[in-house]
């Protein structure tokens, strides 16, 4: 497996490592900055080049993205009316309750 030792570098067609390519450890540390659009186009291309040949890192990116989509779709918990009522009472503001 490539990720645990964090040393997999993409290989060129002749099997030689790409110069200045990112390894799995680099890519994993940069994933959030990548999905948040904070990286330079050059670094984005380097990450995409790594993803093209490293399925493990692709899976981590894909599943992290899916995790975030699910959380963004999750309905936030609503404050129950009795919690609001008691809050106004504690603050001596219950005469303002509608």
């Amino acid at each position: 497996m490539s990720i645990p030792d964090g040393n997999t570098r993409p290989l060129l067609e002749d099997g030689m490592p790409m110069k200045d390519a990112l390894d799995c450890g680099d890519v994993l540390e940069l994933l959030s900055a990548y999905v948040d659009g904070e990286l330079s186009p050059e670094l984005c291309r380097a990450i995409e080049a790594h993803m093209a040949v490293c399925h493990d890192c692709f899976v981590v990116l894909d599943s992290m993205n899916k995790t975030l989509v699910l959380y963004h779709r999750l309905e936030p918990p609503e404050m129950p009316e009795d919690v609001e009522l008691r809050l106004f009472q504690v603050l001596n503001l219950d005469d303002f309750l509608t």
Binding site: I3, S32, A33, K66, R73, P77, L91, F96
Partner: protein, 207 residues
């Protein structure tokens, strides 16, 4: 019956609060309590404690409003007060249950991913059933406190990196690092339920 007043800007509301206007205080509670309740609930994972932290936060905010200098937005300041109230409760909880076996929370590095199976579903088409919502909420509770508060404010409440950093009294770079670790940890926590499952969540089995 009280006259209806409106505060078009945050400055107007703040000026009224500092002048001791009770209507302004009620307006502050009305505007911000649903958001702050969500935050305290998701940090504490307990409805009773979330309510108590919410009350403590507003008592504290109303007492300290005269010292609010406007270094951040009023909302960001309130998030900070509420987050602190929730964190105080977490600290108290730990003091009450000191265990030599308790895991040590460290800031050292992101744990390497272990579950590397594909997630084969479209997250936009997944049915957010009660079961799945529960799994997602429980995973938040399993995060270390330092990561959970950042995830709640930044990812779930949608505060900016700067606002989250101000609310927590940490740097923007620390906020980004913690957010990344929280996302990676949640991915790992959810993987046993969501990885390698063919569209199960997209088309849940009808019982």
């Amino acid at each position: 019956m009280n006259d209806v007043k409106t505060y078009d800007t945050e400055e107007e509301l703040l000026a009224a609060l500092k002048a001791g206007d009770r209507y302004a205080c009620a307006e502050l509670v009305r505007r911000y309590s649903p958001k702050l309740y969500r935050v305290t609930l998701r940090i504490l994972g307990s409805e009773d404690e979330a309510e108590e932290a919410l009350q403590e936060a507003f008592i504290s905010a109303c007492n300290k409003i005269s010292s609010f200098r406007g270094d951040s937005q009023l909302g960001t300041w309130l998030y900070r007060v509420a987050t602190n109230a929730a964190l105080m409760r977490l600290r108290k909880r730990k003091e009450d249950h000191v265990s030599l076996d308790a895991p040590v929370e460290t800031e050292e590095g992101t744990e390497l991913p272990r579950n590397l199976a594909d997630w084969r579903f479209d997250p936009y088409r997944v049915v957010l059933s009660g079961e799945l919502r529960e799994i997602l909420e429980q995973a938040i509770q399993k995060l270390p406190d330092t990561l959970r508060v950042v995830f709640v404010l930044r990812e779930l409440e949608g505060l900016s990196t700067l606002e989250t950093a101000q609310a927590l009294g940490i740097s923007e770079s620390a906020t980004k690092v913690r957010l990344h670790r929280a996302r990676m940890a949640l991915r790992e926590l959810l993987a046993p339920y969501l990885a390698d499952v063919d569209s199960r969540w997209e088309y849940p089995t009808v019982a």
